[in-house]
Symmetry: C2
Subunit: 346 residues, 2 copies
Amino acid sequence: MVHNKSAVFLKFPSEFPIPGEHFAIQTKDLHVSLKNNEILARNLYFSLDPYMRGRMNDAPSYIPHFQLQKPMSGYGVAEIIESKNPAFPVGSLVSGMTGWEQYSVIPEGFTKLLRVLPKNARESKKIPLSAWVGVLGMPGFTAYSSLKVIGQPKTGETIFVSAAAGAVGQLVGQMAKKLGLRVVGSAGSDDKVDYLLNELKFDAAFNYKKNGTILENLKRHAPEGVDIYYENVGGETLEAALECMNTHGRIIVCGMISQYNTTEPYGIRNLGHIVAKRITMRGFINDDFAKDYMEDFVKDVSAWLEADAIIYKEDVEDGIEGSLDAFVGMLKGKNFGKQVVKIADL
Amino acid sequence: MVHNKSAVFLKFPSEFPIPGEHFAIQTKDLHVSLKNNEILARNLYFSLDPYMRGRMNDAPSYIPHFQLQKPMSGYGVAEIIESKNPAFPVGSLVSGMTGWEQYSVIPEGFTKLLRVLPKNARESKKIPLSAWVGVLGMPGFTAYSSLKVIGQPKTGETIFVSAAAGAVGQLVGQMAKKLGLRVVGSAGSDDKVDYLLNELKFDAAFNYKKNGTILENLKRHAPEGVDIYYENVGGETLEAALECMNTHGRIIVCGMISQYNTTEPYGIRNLGHIVAKRITMRGFINDDFAKDYMEDFVKDVSAWLEADAIIYKEDVEDGIEGSLDAFVGMLKGKNFGKQVVKIADL
């Protein structure tokens, strides 16, 4: 028996979720008695991602909403500490769908959403364990696959990335640079803009809260127009991007975080550009591309990490206790880099 | 020398164009003295299409705006009555880009936008001359190619077509029926709805002005959701369609006529469905697909017409004098079927 702290879902929020009201950390005793093919995971890192806000809505989506009164789930890195499944021996490290909690019993049906990490993952200097839910995990694959499939990037084109210092945006920008694109990013603080320009070497970046409207900023920083817009935020930024798109532009719709926590969504008034400029706008989830691109992704990104050819900033919350506030902070853009929670030391 | 009545563009409108203010019929003397490779066309039919409203805006688009103080241009059917171009002998019939006027001198550079009609076009019982700017012209090819390329229709799926009794909509619906889809249409009068149900054999159709909101109507008539939305109108109808789309739905963005004549465009508030339901939304123009689909189009549609396997309703305005009012009427949805102007008898 162990004490297990979990982030439990309590109530559907209509705006920003409030710790204590919509979700809470609760401690329960965990009596472990594994059935055949089940495993017990000790969670080490847990990933906080904007898409999880969608799981807090009672509305149809590609993924079921969180169950009320149950621990929430998401991507994590864990160590197997008990096992009745030969594919996951005790002591192995895994990444994939785990619980937002200290310990998770993974039922047989969910073990297919886990992968065993390479043997050297424990010691790697170049690839921290948290990377498996970041640059080498869902956000990394999101960036890599959608940029290729939907973006159809061509050397010399201009890409505009919103939330460009976030989990997905920072990778999209760097990958686009490697493909010879001109990269323009937006972010919500001067620190983030400095990071984009000076660390990630974006060609241009702006703080969307300053120096005029978003449209004025975008026109100034992408005077030749936008061929690919990597959409993470929605609202006024999407409207500005539509205004600046070039003919045959592509909009990769990864997320619209500005619209997740409001009961008064922003109305987009210039979709007529989709006709006039023959724009393609497409939403997706990772699974759509996994079969065709996962192998190349792991190979390419691992090689870039080993060669220090890609930078990946994480914002690590230490301990599950502060993870609810960290989640709300991420929805408000307070994180700087990919938001993760360190639940335990290896 | 001939007297030539032309529809001349006078002023950029911000809402509905007003005859006499933004455009007018003017009569001028035409002194014809053809240069090498020029031709003189006697216009027989002229096509009035919603996209032409976009050419009345001083804004970037895929096609230049109309020139002030000059006759407007568009798709027409004409007879060649003088020629210095061996590809267009006197007496031949052509369709393609001509003038909104009685007679047009076609400069050499524009003759590539014309095609000579088949020899039997003069006598065909099944294919009236006006068909070459309708079911066998731009609107027909628009419907045919975009349904295939962007729609990716599969037997058993549901397609929703707005402006379904219009130039493009009526063809999209019939073509989708041939491919085994369930077809739901919306239109702006009970007469049009009757036509969709009883003549074109749509599976369901509704008058968007009656029986509750557009969303309520659409939910009632497409209870299993929408896999393909053929977008002709924009605004509230687009919002309703987004609400009803199924996962991996496709939105073929042909036009947004409800938004062309307003200075206060409707704000679309539920684009978040593009993420959650992985929707593809794509604008296009014909030229994007001509190379790959034109040959099949002419073959298929000619065969359907010969076999009475497709119905195509036209709304013919007799004489250029009333064509400005007919154009405004079309923008307001007053036409019933594809709007054309008969300029002269053959």
